[in-house]
Amino acid sequence: MSEPNRAFAFVLVLNGVLAISCGQAGEAGVDHEVTSLGSAEVTARLLEIPGEFPPNDLYDYAYVLKYRVEKVHRGKVLGEKILVAHYNPLKPRSSVQDEFSGLVGGNLKKFRTGDVHRMALEMPLDLLWMGGIFDKYFSQRGIRYWAIWTNLVKK
């Protein structure tokens, strides 16, 4: 193997080791908050992000995302596919809470299609969030859940 190829292989192996070693903690996304907050707790897969998230400059928005429920741990949700509003989705959940949001948080850093999240949910959205709402699914009737706590479920 030539020198550059050896270096590339080393970086690849190093990243693989790091990825595996860092994937051990909290794999199921369980913590005290997600198991106790809100009226429902689900593990669900993020099916799509319908467009770009709005910037967090003058306003704070909630952005509605579509999930497929994989497991209901607590409470009740209606349907296999649910619509969940996340507060300021450009920010990591650990630092998203502010004076307007009420209690929101979690360990999720970034929303990515296909990822699985464990979430503590509350409803209805209209009574929980008074600010701007991006809801690209506006033509679909039904409940919008408010995500209080969102943890990444590691694959």
Partner: protein, 382 residues
């Protein structure tokens, strides 16, 4: 060159190249995360994935975040620069840059928006027609931006009182009126008030450090709208009696909230705002919406301020309800009056049952910069 120099230079060069990414990886591992760089090897190297990776690296970089913060701090301390979205006016007044851009930049409503199918005129007239088919009337209320009413607080050169600087909005108002749309022009009454009835010292019709109007101005605007509704005879006057209760709140500037300079609040403390809460006379309780009202109000944060924000029940909606003598229904979507609020209405279309009048408020900069533009929204399913 001596070998020791070569080693030192090589070492410095390698440090420059690798110090940042290796430190970033170290921080990420310490925080229990998978290193961002591993994403490079976990996805196919397509153009979209590589651009996404680049963007994520920029967003998550500890160095970028740390340095950006302190660069902004230095720029503020040395140059009084508050960032790309904020303009520092005269006498401590702050302006939101898109408000000013909307006023001063050349911009043609008919060309820019129409070509993109993103036209406020079409969106409004279409919405008017949608409602009209169900016997509901529409009233449009464009709110003047702060810079339209207080251009002299932005720059001394814009202080000529006879010069109209909100020509884009006035042009849209004129076109809408010609098309038979009922539009409330608040520009003229607000300017007249400024000239004829200056507020007491230290107060103004708009907040000095915020994008919104003052607690007193919401009541004035509600008065103009209520008077027009009465003149048109569109809605019967109700019988609910409301009283006013003077309160003061301290409002933290929405413009300053955007600025990430450390310690910025020391330079721009919260503003004290006087406003009137609307109180139901019979029960003594604060004003509350009624979804069964014949009047629905749609709009943005100009409706939310003082209404669901502190102190509550002191915003435009409560004051209009007091003047019409019956509670109103409302849907408010911050920054989303151009399209998002109609999408929300479409989701809750049952709220239109029994309505006689829809009042649609939006701040004038949304004519150009409205979030999501001015999309066609099929409010009714059929």
């Amino acid at each position: 060159m001596p070998r020791v120099y070569q080693i030192v230079f090589t070492g410095c060069f390698l440090t420059l190249i690798f110090a940042v990414p290796l430190t970033q990886v170290g921080i990420e591992i310490y925080e229990g995360q998978r290193p961002q760089v591993s994403e490079l090897f976990l996805h196919l190297p397509t153009e979209a994935n590589l651009r996404g990776f680049e963007s994520e690296v920029e967003d998550s970089s500890w160095f970028a975040q740390f340095l950006r913060l302190w660069m902004q701090y230095l720029r503020f301390e040395l140059l009084w620069d508050l960032g790309e979205k904020v303009l520092l006016g005269r006498d401590g007044w702050l302006f939101y840059r898109p408000d000013v851009q909307y006023l001063v930049e050349p911009y043609r409503l008919s060309e820019t928006h129409h070509a993109a199918g993103d036209d406020p005129f079409s969106a409004i007239t279409t919405f008017r027609d949608q409602l009209s088919r169900r016997g509901i009337r529409l009233m449009i209320v464009p709110i003047p931006g702060k810079a339209s009413i207080y251009p002299d607080k932005l720059t001394r050169r814009a202080a000529a009182p006879d010069r109209s600087i909100s020509s884009h909005t006035l042009e849209l108002i004129s076109r809408l009126k010609k098309a038979g749309v009922e539009v409330i022009d608040l520009f003229e009454p607000f300017r007249r008030l400024r000239e004829k009835q200056p507020m007491p010292s230290g107060q103004a019709y708009y907040l000095r450090q915020d994008t919104h109007w003052s607690g007193m101005t919401v009541s004035i605007a509600a008065g103009v709208v209520a008077q027009r509704i009465h003149n048109l005879g569109w809605v019967d006057r109700g019988s609910t009696q409301y009283d006013l209760k003077l309160v003061s709140v301290r409002r933290r500037s929405d413009i300053i909230r955007m600025v990430t300079v450390p310690g910025i609040e020391r330079h721009f403390p919260a503003e004290e705002v006087r406003c009137y809460q609307v109180v139901h006379r019979a029960s003594g309780k604060l004003y509350k919406d009624d979804p069964r009202s014949p009047v629905l109000v749609l709009g943005d944060s100009f409706l939310r301020i003082y209404q669901t924000d502190e102190p509550g029940s002191a915003g435009f909606i409560a004051h209009l309800a007091r003047m019409l003598k019956h509670p109103l229904a409302s849907i408010v979507n911050d920054g989303g009056a151009s399209t998002l609020v109609r999408q929300e209405l479409s989701r809750k279309v049952d709220v239109l049952r029994g309505k006689k009048l829809v009042i649609w408020e939006f701040v004038e900069r949304d004519i150009r910069f409205g979030v999501q533009g001015w999309k066609y929204v099929p409010v009714f399913a059929d």
